[in-house]
Structure formats: C-alpha cells, structure tokens
Symmetry: C2
C-alpha cells in the first residue's frame, strides 16, 4: 500500500532570483501534471518523471509490451549511440540534420543519439550469419529513450526532446508476407488503443523521410494536435491532410461529408520494403539457399506521448482523467481528519477498508491519503485533480457504526453514498473492468454504466 | 510458452570483406554470450541485447526494483541529457573529463550524456518548494542507461561505454539519519546479492571523485576483476587495496591471515553529506522552519554488469551458468527427433509435459526446443551451453508408455533419469526454491542438495 504522506510530488515553484522565461507552451493537462508535481520540467524540452507519473509510464510499458509479444514480438535493446556511418549509407543524413543530437567519442568517431533505430537493427542483421527463410517472419522490439532536438518543444511530454518510445522492426521474405505482418501489427495497435479507451483515428499517412510504400498513423483528436486530419462522416475514411490534399469529396465513398480535425500522432506504422536492408546488406537465405534482401516494416508508439495526449483528451481544465489501465492508482482512500469527533469510529472502518479494498484491487493499486492533519475537503480536492478512478472518503457518516456510509467519487464526476459492501462491490467492478480490458474484451461506456447497479448517485 | 525455433539468437559471423580488428578483450562468459547469440557487439564498447539475454536483464530489473521499493525507494526517471552547467557548480568538470560524452543542442547549450545523476536529482530538489523535515527521509531511484567513454572497454557487458544502472539517491535531515538510511539501503543490497546466490565481498571503499565520507563496494571475486581486494580469513574484514594499503596484518583483528583477490565492482554505496546539496542549494525546512542543506547518499548497481560478472563467476569455459533468479528460462524441454521410431509415443509424453511443467513453473519460464529436425544430442549440447537450470530430454526411453523415463540435466552438471511425476517434482522444487529466494529466505547449497530426494543420479 502507498501512503500519500510519503509520496514525492514536488510542487512547482519559481526560484527567488530566477528570471522567468516562458520558453514553452503548456497544454491544460501538462499544466496540471506540472502543478501537481507529477512531471517536472528539466532543461528546455526534457522532463523528469516523478513517482506517481512513473507508475503510469510503467503500466503503459507493460501494456505495450504485452501487445507486442502477442503479435510475436521479441524484446531486445539496441544502444542509444548509433554510428553516423550507418545513416550515411541509407542517405538519412543528406537532408536536414538539425534535429539530430550528434556526439563524438574520444577517438573522434561520430554517433547519433538515436531518434529511431532502422539503421542499427538492419546493420545488426547484416552482420550475423544470414537467417533462413524458415526463421522468418522476425519481429524485434525495444522500449527506450529517443532523442530529437526539436526546434520548438511544446505541450510538455507531448513533444519533448527526450522521450520514451516503443519501436518494433519486422523482417519478412516478401512484400506479400511483409504486408501480412503489417496487418497483424496494425491489429495489435488497434487492440492496444481500444484498451486505452481514448477515441482514436487511424489515418492513411505519408511515408516521408522514413521511406517505404504503406503507412498509417494513429491520432488522438485534440485542439493542441499538430496534424490536420480529414475525416469522412459517412464511411469513416480518414487521412492526414499532408496525404489527402483538401478534396471536395471523400476519396473512398465520394460523400461530401468531410470534416477537418486536429490530431496528435501517437503511433505510426510503415511498410519499408528494402529501403534499409538493401543499402546495409541485410539478407536472408531463400528456399534455393541464395541471399535475398529482407523486406521490412517498422512500428512506433510514443509511450510518454500516448500518456500525455490521452490526458489532454480526457482531462478538464481542473482535473486530470486517466485511461483506466494507466491511472497511477485504482483507488484513493481518504482517512478521517485528525481530532474530528468521528475519528475513533471512522478509523475502525478505515482499517477494514484498507484491508478489503487492497485485497480486491491489489495493495499496490491503493493510495491511502493518510495526511490526517489536512481537512477531508482539501484532500478530496487534490484527489479529484489527480483523477483517481475511485476515491473513497471515510468521513463523518462512516462513523455511524450501525450503518456506516461512505462517499465514493469517480473520475467521471459521479458521487455515490454507499455502505461498506456496496463500496467493495464498486471497487470489484472497477477491477473486473480493468481485467476485461487487459484480456481485450471491450465494453461500451453505455453498457458499463448500465451494469453499475450499486448505491444511489448523489 | 517459448519455442526455440522462433527465438532470435544470431550467431557470430565475420563479414566477408571485413578487416578483423580484435579491439576488445573478451572474458570466457562474454565469449559464450557472443557465440551463442545472446549479446552482440555494436560499435566499439556498446552492446546489443538479444531476446534471450533481454529476459535476464528484465528479471534483474524487476528484482532490483522490488528490493529498492522494499527499502522505501520511489521510482522516477531523470533525463539522460544533463546540462553541463550543473556539473560546473559541483566542480566535477574540473578534473579529467575525457570519459564524458558531451553534446550541444541547436542553441549551443552543452549537455552531458549522464554517467550518473547526483547533480540532476539535487538540482531537481533545489527547484521545487523546499520539502519539510516531516517528508524526510526521501529515497528516489531510477533504472536506465548511463554513458562513460572508457579508454579501454573490456570483457563485453562488464565494462561497456553504454550500460544499464540502477541509481538511488537519498535525502535526510542530518548526518545521523542519513547514516540510518545508508545502513538500511546497504541491508537491501546485502539481501539482493544473497538472492543472486553468487559469493560477494563487501569492502570499505574510497569515496574518490564522488565525495562524501563513508563508502562501500560490492564485488564479485574473479580473475578478470579490475580491483585488488584484501580479505582477512580470520574476521572476514575486506577492503579495497586503494584504501587499505598493503598492511602486514588485518586492520580489524590484527590477524596476519590476509589474502589478495581480484574483484569486479558490481555495486557501490556512498554517504555524500552536503557535497551536492550545498553548491546546488537543495534544502529542506527544519523544525524551526529554516532552510537547511539536505544530507545525501547515493547507491548504484550496475544491472548489466551484475549479470555479466555473475556469469563470469559461475560459468565454465564451455557452459554458461546463471543465478537462478536471472536465468532466461527455468526449464528447457527437448522434444524427440523427427522421424525417429519413438517419435509418436514420445510426443504424447512431450505434450503432457509441456502442459504440466508449464503450469508448475509458469508457461513463460518454459522453453520448448521444438527444432525436431535437429538431433537430440545437438540440441542438448546447446541447452547445456545456454545453462538452463533444468533441461528435460524426451528421448527414446520416454516412449515406453508403461513406464516412460526422462533424462533431466541440471546446470550444475547433474543428470537424472526420472519418471513423469519425479520430473514434475524436480521442476516444482526449482520453482519453490526461486520463490523462497524472492521472499528473501536463503538456504545453503548443501541443504538444498540434501532436500532433493527424487530419482537417481546417473
């Protein structure tokens, strides 16, 4: 169990002698994350993840990893330092390189602080004994920091210079089987984004500097998005305006019911063909034993960006709201105020709840706000701003030992007055919902509300 | 369950036109890791972790993390990029800086690719509202890549330029409470190193460039170690020869029974005092509400180095041997050879084993060597080189349906001939032993052997 009194949540202050430079734009969720001490701005465009937000990051890593493994992905780690020589071979240092961090070692050899790893993973395959067609398809992924020296960092974690990515690379024998892999990984992405329960738009995208033939982007729709998307209300077709240049009617169904929305790109998939395998010489041995270029795909998910963008979409100006599977804690339990007349009786209920709720949702998922020197009101306000899915208040009414009542707040803004067993039932429903999401069983918001049948809403 | 036919283990090859430069020394375990395709050398001094070794890394991360949390540690992430300005303030750029990777962003601002994070974490605390004495002690840790441009990289993962570290930083109100924290974290380290079951030596160490007053190092004893340690056979005292300069008798008990051994430093703890908090202005508010310098400690564990050094100590020239809690898989199951006359009957046993063994040790802990086109001998040889704690061979004798016998090999070099239920019992014993280790219950090697009472050793 976690105690609020011990958790490090450093509030934002401005040092006395500091000259305040507003060097970056903050969106509403990023402002909340900073004010609440979940994320702290480091040097311009880098961020420090504080303990509560770290829990969310770790949950996101686990969720992404489990989906990648289900899609046949094998986890590896490639060094952050990639020799620039590899990037020269693929031509990716020919254009604008101002976004790259480059560093030389003591011998003068130059490295990139990798913004992505197509070259590194392809070179790795090129320098092992060629694998047989029988070992393909091969899907390798990693989860780690990436670097991009952005001209303009914005919206905190949403566009940072150092960020956490999951990157997967696939290797196939032919364009045809590579397309099968591409479809399969896209299905894993669809599943993941459904698990996160944030509405997403999947669009046909430009392949751009990455190269290749087919590409899709996953976007969260938000006014702070940096991409213009075109959505067809009739058939559901969606495209990045970069690709689908302002058509009068839908390129797919001809309907004129097109609307433009702003999107935050949270994931991207590419069918790469032999763009990297050919110049770097990564081959496999085909059925006749001859070496042949591997056909590749690559698939990115911005871990920190998914969290930041999901918060931006779900939160209000004053309260964070998390995807259920990414909330730092499932339940916050606010104990009675010190010195209040109900304290002794209320603490009996509090202790029983700590035990029982912890057993239902897992003790690690329960945050005990034990700062009893603070009023319940102050702690409840903070709990609401932090957006815990369920907050249980052990207040004055809980001290009626014959029929104690608890106030339960959900992150959707509902408030219930519940007895002990109804409270546990609500916690159990939340945990069950999380488990079905983890299994990939999706239930619509409406069905979920219908199925909630305990207590009465205040 | 994991199938050997699908796991990416790229064997080492030398490209046709490459000029072979032996740029680095490889120790025996590092040679095995490379030859078996568990680790691949990237650019000089950087390493690519392949899927099977990645499982070991992830297990080590989980184990270290759980011990740090038990010691009150809260997990965070600090950026890899640390502004050099912070290091100027603490004087750590005044000496030899040739080991640092430094990089400038597009605005010309200079950063270190952090080799450690004392400055960054202290500056983070200095720029939040001062915490109250009531919130202390505070212990923050992270697990991530570190960078050091070594003059000479050696022994693969054991001394690499980019490596994985756990670094914890503690903050206290006084030297006295800081010493309590120091003792507590050292106890967590002792526990961790006992869980790994590799003999370790804890020595009094020099504080060196890190500063501070008290320091201990944890070493694995190995001929490839880079430190000279002095050990007293009488009282157990141990010191790094840097600190304890060749005394005639033990500084602790006066015995003359001193021996010198070579050690690989796998962890290091420091009591830092205010060496960092003072120049960077990191304070807390004391009982009278006045700001006062935080008293710090720092505690590192080289994740990738622990794995590499443990393998070096435990392995032979031809076979890897892992700490039980870090083996990529608990059990390897080798299926019958394709086309052998026993294949149909043996596959009945094989399928039952897959189900039952997987249920006992966890399906993710079972590696199924399904490459039936290869002989059992060839696959067994590879399994032994990979050092799986238990390898079960479904060979000719397993096809006697009335009383099938299985050959079971342990990584200690024992071979048993067991029936079905005895095999499951051995797997269960292994899993139980792992669970007791995880709980921190330690049993000596001898007791463990005594408690093993199944079958007969071949």
């Amino acid at each position: 169990m976690n105690k609020a009194s011990r958790i490090f949540c450093p509030a934002l202050i401005t040092p006395k002698n500091a000259v305040v430079k507003q060097t970056e734009q903050l969106s509403r969720s990023q402002k909340l994350l900073t004010e609440l001490g979940l994320v702290k701005s480091g040097s311009n465009g880098t961020y420090q993840i504080m303990p509560m937000a770290q829990r969310s990051v770790d949950k996101c890593i686990d969720l992404v990893q489990s989906n990648m493994q289900q899609a046949g992905g094998q986890k590896i780690t490639l060094p952050i330092l990639t020799p620039t020589g590899l990037w020269k071979k693929t031509g990716r240092l020919d254009g604008d390189i101002s976004e790259f961090y480059m560093v030389r070692d003591r011998s003068g050899k130059q490295f990139l602080m990798s913004p992505t790893h197509e070259e590194a993973v392809t070179a790795m395959l090129a320098t092992t004994s060629p694998i047989s067609y029988r070992q393909l398809p091969l899907r390798l992924f990693q989860i780690g920091p990436k670097f991009r020296d952005e001209l303009k960092t914005r919206f905190g974690l949403m566009r940072a210079k150092e960020f956490l990515m999951k990157d997967m690379y696939s290797f196939d024998v032919s364009e045809e089987t590579a397309m099968e892999t591409y479809t399969l990984v896209n299905a894993a992405y669809d599943r993941l984004f459904k698990q996160l329960e944030v509405p997403f738009v999947k669009v046909n995208a430009a392949t751009g500097i990455m190269g290749g033939s087919v590409s899709h982007e996953y976007h969260y729709v938000s006014p702070v998005g940096e991409d213009n998307l075109l959505q067809c209300s009739s058939c559901g077709f969606a495209g990045n305006s970069e690709v689908v240049k302002a058509p009068a009617s839908c390129p797919s169904c001809n309907s004129s019911d097109l609307k433009e929305v702003r999107g935050v790109e949270v994931a991207h998939t590419f069918l790469l063909g032999d763009k990297y395998s050919k110049p770097l010489g990564a081959t496999f041995l085909n059925t006749t034993g001859k070496p042949q270029s591997l056909v590749m795909g690559c698939y990115g998910i911005g871990i920190t960006r998914v969290i930041a963008a999901a918060l931006e979409v779900l939160s209000s100006d004053h309260e964070l709201r998390w995807p259920k599977l990414l909330a730092p804690y499932d339940v916050c339990l606010i104990g009675p105020k010190q010195g209040s007349k109900e304290q002794p009786e209320a603490e009996v209920i509090e202790n029983e709840l700590l035990l029982n709720v912890g057993e239902i949702c897992g003790h690690q998922e329960l945050l005990h706000d034990d700062r009893k020197e603070l009023t319940i009101g102050k702690r409840l306000l903070e709990a609401k701003r932090l957006g815990h899915p369920l907050t249980i208040v052990v207040g004055a009414k809980s001290a009626r030992l014959d029929s104690p009542k608890l106030e339960v707040h959900t992150s959707k803004g509902e408030t219930y007055e519940l007895d002990f067993s109804e409270t546990l039932k609500l916690v159990a429903e939340h945990s069950q919902h999380k488990k079905s999401l983890e299994r990939g069983c999706f239930q619509s918001e409406t069905e979920e509300s219908k199925s909630r049948s305990v207590g009465h809403q205040l």
